[in-house]
């Protein structure tokens, strides 16, 4: 193993190989030992002279922990019994998620379906018949229909999938400002 692979050096060494327990740096009369992993209750540092020492725990973003002076006969010292940081936990219940298209053919097919949406105003107006159905009523029917469809999609494609944020999370991310924006004053 002559390549430089930091992962193999500190976390996943090949079978039979050693891994780095500590890195050392020095400044004036101080030798710093930086530990890649939280060592538990004790850390043994070999070949360290009697000196003022501090150890940084690189396994988390903790503060520098001041170590006691070394007991030379044991060449080890106790690490402070700090609580490990709690892992990230999902906040609240894992809500439903949205449907995200993963396959290219299906995505292209849906693009074509989208094009049907382009013509939906003109085509439905033709279907309704300009003479039989007044434009104003068609306008309302179309707007309400689009709104109802958006609710249906929110309740189906927006929540029945397995990926991404669901429709409610998306709304929260948008914030209330977006929905309640006052009309801009023209100047």
């Amino acid at each position: 193993m002559s390549e430089y692979d930091i992962k193999k050096m500190i976390d996943t060494p090949p079978a039979g190989y050693a891994r780095v327990d500590a890195f050392f740096t020095a400044k004036a009369n101080t030798v710093y030992a930086i530990l890649p992993r939280w060592p538990g209750s004790q850390a043994t540092l070999r070949k360290i002279p009697r000196a003022r020492r501090r150890t940084c725990d690189a396994s988390r973003n903790g503060r520098i922990s001041q170590m006691g002076t070394q007991r030379a006969e044991y060449r080890r010292h106790d690490t402070p019994s700090q609580r490990r940081p709690r892992g990230l936990r999902p906040q609240g219940r894992d809500l439903a998620r949205m449907v995200l298209i993963q396959s290219l053919p299906l995505a292209i097919l849906l693009c074509i379906v989208t094009m049907l949406g382009w013509g939906s105003w003109a085509n439905t107006q033709k279907l309704a018949g300009k003479e039989k159905w007044p434009f104003e009523l068609f306008y309302w029917d179309y707007a309400i229909g689009v709104f109802l469809f958006s609710l249906i999609f929110a309740a189906t494609l927006g929540t029945l999938g397995s990926d991404g944020p669901n429709v409610f999370q998306n709304h929260r991310a948008g914030g209330t400002r977006l929905h309640l924006a006052p009309p801009c004053s023209a100047e």
């Binding site: 050693a18 780095v20 890195f23 740096t25 020095a26 710093y32 930086i34 940084c56 973003n61």
Partner: protein
Amino acid sequence: MGFSYGYNRAETLKDYHTGRELTMMLIDIVSRGGNLLLDIGPAADGTIPVVMEERLEQIGNWLIPNGEAIYGTHAWTEPRQWSEGKVPVMEDSSS
């Protein structure tokens, strides 16, 4: 910090070193008396991709409490302490 030296839009998250790996690389280099030269590739419009910004932030967050052991230090007589087992031959040929 990714697969390519510059920005490569074909890279995925798997191609990037984690913040921990990059921090370890920094520590390893400094413990051998060197400086870490870390490439970040700006996008075509000059912005720094968020994933790279995040990595830099992660290294920086580690350095806030632990920078005392990095800044202004030099290599000690030994750069590393190994656990039990065969010590791999490194390209810098130090133990």
